[in-house]
């Protein structure tokens, strides 16, 4: 499938700020399921800084802008050809050992309920292999946390979302990371885009899911929000231990101004 992305993030400050520093993970991953046709990241102000491919295989580019600034806009435009690999991250070059993704972070710290959720999901799994176990965990998380925008916020932890029983893709991905790690399965948070479906299924165009390490297969994506594995409707940008670490844009403004954010994302299929 050929997907066209238009993604714009506008930061507006109520008082001008002295400067802005950002770190971008806004370029699609290189693996067998994605081929870049055209891709551009434009920032309305400032200068590009150093850029590099990190140990997890993500392209990281930094950007800084001098103040006084009242707003700054990051625009992503591009086209990617995607292939359905049923979630398998085949041909992705990276160097971080899977075992490093067993570590907990604050938003993915498992409480008793998360540990119990994983345990129950696998109670009848018997000798099921790692891939089957991962599927069971993903289903359990999707069932335990109903999709409902507005119930949670950016700093909600996996444990809190499970307590509420509601959340969005970030909460599903955090919770799946937490239950998988509690079962000694390396897991990580992935950020990316999802092409709009026409059957009315709720979704977010700027999307997030989890990847679980399956020996023999490598990293496999699981989208607990949509009860599936990422296919050719998905574009993968980058990964990390949690949403903060995998964020497409991390930024800090110097100054007193309060920030408000305006995001638009459109992912369209150029041909079907």
């Amino acid at each position: 499938m050929i997907l066209t992305v238009h993604h714009s993030t506008r930061y507006v400050y109520d008082q001008p700020v002295r400067g802005v520093v950002q770190s971008h993970r806004l370029t699609p991953s290189l693996f067998d399921g994605q081929r870049l046709i055209d891709w551009r990241v434009l920032v309305s102000d400032g200068t590009a800084g150093g850029a590099f491919r990190d140990g997890a295989g993500d392209w990281v580019a930094s950007h800084s802008a001098h103040g006084p600034l009242s707003e700054i806009t990051v625009t992503v435009e591009g086209q990617v050809e995607t292939v359905d690999l049923t979630g398998v991250l085949r041909g992705h070059r990276e160097r971080v050992p899977p075992e490093a993704y067993l570590r907990e972070t604050l938003p993915t710290r498992p409480d008793v309920a998360l540990i119990e959720l994983g345990r129950e999901a696998l109670a009848d799994a018997g000798r099921a292999d790692a891939l089957e176990r991962a599927h069971l965990l993903s289903v359990a998380v999707g069932q335990a946390i109903a999709y409902r925008p507005g119930a949670t916020h950016a700093h909600t932890t996996a444990a809190e979302a499970l307590g509420l029983g509601e959340g969005v893709c970030q909460d599903h991905a955090h919770a799946l990371c937490a239950v998988a790690r509690a079962q000694d399965m390396p897991a990580r948070y992935v950020s990316g885009y999802l092409h709009a479906t026409e059957d009315g299924t709720p979704h977010e165009a700027a999307h997030a899911w989890a990847e679980i390490w399956v020996p023999g297969l490598g990293w496999v994506g699981f989208d607990a929000s949509n009860g599936c594995c990422p296919d050719d409707r998905y574009i993968r940008l980058g990964s990390g231990h949690d949403a903060r670490a995998a964020a497409p844009i991390r930024g800090i403004a110097r100054g007193q101004g309060r920030e408000s954010l305006d995001v638009t994302v459109a992912v369209e299929a150029a041909q079907q």
């Binding site: 400067g19 520093v21 950002q22 770190s23 200068t47 590009a48 800084g49 150093g50 850029a51 590099f52 990190d54 140990g55 997890a56 990281v60 930094s62 800084s64 001098h66 160097r95 971080v96 050992p97 075992e99 490093a100 067993l102 570590r103 231990h241 903060r244 991390r250 930024g251 800090i252 110097r254």
Partner: protein
């Protein structure tokens, strides 16, 4: 614990390196001694060298007690220590380069993967990145104890930001002012080359993007930090700027320092703040100590950070057990300095042994430092031992145990005259284009009779440390 090695005596005779100090003390009447002691204290006050103690409250500007009786090593003793420490510093850095790249030592099964990759200090953001000259830990502080004329043990390695070197320099300075004659009678190797060696070391690891003379800064958390004095002292000696996070900013591919003449590019940052605070974009967004965007500049080769982010995975107390293995694996050599035998409470058999022998052992927290949260079995009451037992059982993986070593003692001025007190030693190894250390280090002394805890936060003092010239 009655038997211990007194560094001044052997078989009732004064050992050679202390020969002249015997005469020195005999020729010093009590009045002169208290006069000199008062003078030393006044000098320390005037210099402003104080040590705030974490978590103890009280006077943050307390002086660390200075004992005027020097500790002395022969040239031969020192050369062996030096070779052993250099060997260790090389192996620790080789380990860091390895675990952030192919992880050969893990693949070879010489160290368990979980100790490395699940370690809090393992920094995934620097995987695949090798800092200039392959150095992660530019200043390695190795804590040593002695149990006999030729028996030294490494207690722990400090690969991040070991403190205390300012005491090594100041103790010498004060001793030379108080007793100039001593330095004429004894041929003592100088330590004052340290600051220049440190500056050269830092300059030698400037990033590829730096052309010309590198600009070096020391990044401090600020005046509230217990080692702030040391940060400003070293900046002064090296002739570099002492900065806080707010003095630096990222623009384009570089880090810049605000100065009265406009921004100046910074090439090497000797940071005295922890990894978690370096860059609020990466870890703690609420932290004001670091510099937003610093990690991206670092990863793209625009600046060197010393010690490198992620260096801490080499000096954790559980990883420590494997340093002799690192020396064999990377250098193909046998360790010159021994580790203290260590039981890992995370292991079932080790835990069983530790719980059965608690009253004889020293137990430490895996991530602890500064002498907090430790049990010295033979020096503790039965209640203290039992209370500690419960803490270990509640979280075994958090503890390691070691035999209680009969630490050597050095003559020390006490109220009653001169008496042996237990000591340790921390030399500072510099790693850049070369691996070197100045002949000396920081000797800490447990001033309470019989005490084995030398930490300044637990009532320890310091001594000047001499290495005699050949």
């Amino acid at each position: 614990m009655a038997e211990f090695f007194n560094e001044m005596y052997e078989a009732g005779q004064i050992r050679a390196p202390y020969a002249r100090l015997g005469d020195w003390t005999e020729a010093m009447p009590a009045e002169l001694r208290s006069l000199k002691q008062a003078e030393a204290e006044a000098l320390f006050r005037r210099i402003g060298i104080t040590f705030a103690v974490y978590g103890e409250g009280g006077d943050p500007d307390r002086l660390i007690p200075f004992d005027m009786f020097p500790r002395v090593f022969t040239h031969a003793e020192w050369r062996r220590l030096e070779r052993g420490i250099v060997q260790r510093a090389k192996a620790l850095n080789a380990f860091l380069v390895d675990v952030y790249n192919r992880g050969e030592i893990v693949r070879a099964g010489r160290i368990p993967a979980h100790l490395v990759y699940r370690n809090e200090a393992f920094e995934t953001a620097v995987v695949g990145f090798t800092p200039p000259r392959g150095v992660f830990s530019h200043i390695v502080g190795v804590d040593l104890v002695r149990t006999g004329p030729d028996d030294f043990f490494v207690l722990e390695d400090n690969c991040r930001t070991p403190s205390g070197v300012s005491y090594m320099l100041e103790n010498r300075e004060i001793m030379m002012r108080l007793f100039p004659a001593l330095f004429r009678e004894n041929r003592i190797e100088p330590v004052d080359g340290y600051s220049e060696a440190l500056r050269r070391t830092l300059a030698s690891v400037a990033p590829a993007k730096c052309d010309g003379e590198p600009t070096i800064v020391i990044l401090t958390p600020g005046p509230l930090n217990s080692a702030y004095y040391e940060h400003s002292f070293l900046a002064d000696l090296m002739g570099v700027e002492l900065v806080e996070g707010q003095d630096l900013f990222v623009e384009g591919e570089h880090v810049w320092m605000r100065t009265t003449r406009g921004p100046q590019r910074v090439d090497v940052i000797y940071r005295r703040i922890d990894d978690a605070f370096i860059d609020p974009l990466c870890s703690r967004p609420d932290s004001m100590l670091g510099v937003p965007g610093l990690m991206d500049v670092y990863r793209s080769g625009g600046v060197t950070i010393a010690s490198a982010p992620g260096a801490g995975v080499a000096d954790d107390k559980a990883v420590y057990t494997f340093v002799p293995e690192m020396i064999r694996f990377y250098l193909g050599e046998e360790p010159i300095l021994q580790n203290v035998p260590t039981w890992q409470c995370a292991k079932r058999d080790d835990l069983k042994y530790v719980l059965e022998h608690l009253a004889e052992l020293v137990v430490k927290e895996v991530h602890g430092s500064g002498g907090y949260g430790m049990l010295v079995g033979p020096k503790s009451t039965a209640e203290q031992v039992e209370a500690f037992r419960e803490r270990i059982i509640a979280n075994p993986a958090n503890y390691i145990a070691q035999p209680t070593l009969a630490l050597s003692a050095c003559p020390t001025f006490v109220d009653e005259g001169i008496a042996p007190r237990h000591v340790d030693l921390r030399p500072y190894c510099l790693v850049g284009d070369r691996v070197e250390l100045v002949p000396g280090g920081l000797t800490r002394v447990a001033l309470t009779e019989g005490s084995l805890v030398v930490n300044s936060s637990q009532g320890g003092g310091v001594k000047d440390t001499w290495v005699l010239a050949e």
